[in-house]
Amino acid sequence: MNPGALAVAASVRSGERRARAVVEETLEAIAARDPGLHAFLHVAGDQALEAAAAVDRAVEEGRDPGPLAGVPVALKDNICTRGVPTTCASRILEGWLPPYDATVVTRLRDAGAVVVGKTNLDEFAMGSSTENSSRGPTRHPMDPTRVPGGSSGGSAAAVGAGLVPLALGSDTGGSVRQPAALCGTVGMKPTYGLVSRYGLVAFASSLDQIGPIARSVGDAAALFEVIAGHDPLDSTSLDAPAPSVSQVLDAGVEGMRVGLVAELVDGTAPDVARRVRAAAGALAGAGAVVDDVTVPEMRFGLSAYYLIAPAEASSNLARYDGVRYGLRVDAPDVAAMNTATRTAGFGPEVKRRIMLGTYALSAGYYDAYYGKAQRVRTLMIRAFDRAYERFDVLLGATAPTTAFRLGERTDDPLAMYMSDVCTIPSNLSGHPAISVPFGAGDDGLPVGVQVLAPARGEEQLFRAAAVLERAAGEVRS
């Protein structure tokens, strides 16, 4: 198993290890083990070795190589990389080479991190198992008959399998936290607006947020700090300094008020619910004040989400029309070409959501669907606000179950949608949340517990997460 990101960066910065050696080792591991896992859609070997060489030169010349010097990072394949394929696991973007880097990619490069490749996902991030990929599913790193979760399943599996210490995913309804939980890794969704979306291929713009996946809370904190911060290229980017979280990881939770959310425990599998209660106990043991709380509005989350997200998606995905880039299926006129291209280019789940969203925005239906869903969203935010009058953080499960079997939910979209029931509320409210591994379920597969915090509450989020991580380690050993 690879050492953590911070350990790698420390060794590269001190000159003890060369970035090139780190990256070569990573590329060898991917070549050897990814064929069985299928976490990667594209490995950018040459570019990675070049970037590593640049880091090594900086170290040799005495320049600061950055806080993540030489650390291999995998990117979900909906994050634009200049000159490197970015497909969103969709046929419709096959062959497209972005002419620009996403802001997070620029920030990673500036921090000395090395992008080694692009990871698998549900097409356009629509799914919870990475089975909706035009290139075939990713498998769970501990059990190849199971899914890694999704939609950032490739990133979570790559980190979970130890191929890379860090990866980025995107979280629209739980797509970072849910696969992170299923793969036994740490996954975090920042406050909406803290991480630039510039260069993240949009699924549902008002919900999308890029987040880190790592093997430890400390590594996740380091990656979060690198990617967070104001970006003038994203109008929804918060014009305020990003919270610095690394320095509070050892602050503990003495006196922290923790609300155990009934809606995020009831209805989860019994073994998952047990782990969540154990986590509450661990926080209490570390000095937190834990109490039960109900946030009934959370029950409407899934319904509101499946109107808002498809509505925005139906508009965001209109541009894939065969005119300018990506797939084009020729036809006698433009309208026929659009139809033929989109029919051939999109998979069934993407088509389903485009149709749902188009319907929800149609004249005469807007108020009943999209308008009402937005009002539910407002209710949800108010409900969270009320809860945060009493609590500093909230606690619950990340996903209702441990990793499920390949094909188990593919024929039942609603069952699949339920995988995100615990994570969706934070996307609707725009609040941060983190999933931390906390032991295993009855099947021996990882269980993640979720900490939720109010907007820009990343400090208390990471403090609680760090305590849970230490407690989980003690449980395991």
Partner: protein, 521 residues
Amino acid sequence: MSGGLVSGGLVSGGLVNGASGTGPGWEVVVGLEVHCELRTRTKLFCGCVNAFGDEPNTNICPVCLGLPGSLPVLNERAVELAMRIGAALHCEVRPSAFHRKNYFYPDMPKDYQISQYDEPINVGGWLDLPDGSRVGIVRAHLEEDTGKTTHQGASGRIHAADYALVDYNRAGVPLVEIVSEPDIRSAAQARLYVTELQGVLVATGASDGKMEEGSLRVDANVSVRRRAPDPAGAEGSPAPFGTRCEIKNLNSLRSLGRAIDYEAARQAALLESGGTVVQETRHWDEDAGRTVPLRSKEEAFDYRYFPEPDLVPLAPDAAWQARAAAEVGLLPSARRARLAELLGTAPAPQQLEQVGVLVGQGLDELVVAAVGRGAPAELALVRAANELAADLDAARALDVGAFASLVAMEAEGALTATQAKQVLRELLAAGGGDPARIAAEKGFEALSGGALAAAVREAVEANPEEWARFSAGEDKLAGFFTGQVMRATAGKADGKAVAAELRRLRAAPAGPEGPGRSEQP
């Protein structure tokens, strides 16, 4: 349809039916949507240059091409110019938001247009026209332009095209769409409204007002209704509005006027014959001089508007609004008054029309400045309205001193009108220069009185038959003699002076040197 063009005079009445052929029983009701490209340095949502006429697809980037992952960032300057327009049109600036207008079209990179929907930046307002009428403004909102599609093929027409090329330089160029109330009652008034609006937009600095380059584009909503039986005593409520049709592709004032007249006549004829008007979008075919159906209400797009999640609400504070309003220049009404004042007490109707044209094109400053430097107002107005207006870009760059000197030279008789126009062309091409030097280089010098009289006499003597007819009252032969004299003097003679000399000779009693002596018995 007879003479669809209603003269766009400044003084036409509000209920002109003109030559539209709608018959006296019908009143046309028009509302206009004017799209104005804002004169910003960069586009509405990205840093690409906003320029007309550049090599296709050179002013583009991931944002205005709508590449996956790109995001819009609002151009503050565009907001500022939109607020200036709002201030000039007496609108209220409100907190506003952007929406997405979703429909598929190849020249729209994202297959949605970012526009303002139910929360526009400018609401309410009005525009007063030189004929004394007032047209209400519903709204003036911000939106992005699309790319430009060129259909390629034998005929150049959409339906016969082999393929199409798209230039995305225009994609993302900032527009303000100005929507009028349906207050317009004739083609002439519609033309007047657009001309006046053009002047307002130029005055605000928001637009260059060039319809021919597409900086200003007009759609017209046209309907007809029965005129009240006795308009004079029309105290009762007017007939409700008829079903309207939206006319697109109106690229000039001429098209606008012709299209409204045609459409009003079409609708009136349809109703007269017992038919009904179907709400639809129609396309103006300039060559054929008629409107043709584009799509019916049933075929209309469902734009599925929803709030643009990539942008935040826009709420300019009072200070910013005030700064924008303070930047609005002198408006056309004030500028017309200033120019008319220079012409003296009672300007002729034709002069007033020229004043209107110059103000609309923003050339009035030049005339006022030239008069300030001693050029006679009347002649400065004529040269500006005729020669300068024909070459706007050059005219706007023309040196005032050079223009003033030229006009003065012509007024003093140092140059003939023909010569003055030639020298002016040179000045325009060079952006300025010394008119006297150019005239000298060209060998222009007005003929002395004696030389002119001699040239006229020669022409008369060489054409005795024509002279006899002219003497007998066939006035049109004056042109013949002027032509002869012009040829003989290589254009140096002043046409008016020649005409005066001809009249003098005809009126003079036949003397020994008089023409036509041989005709005497």
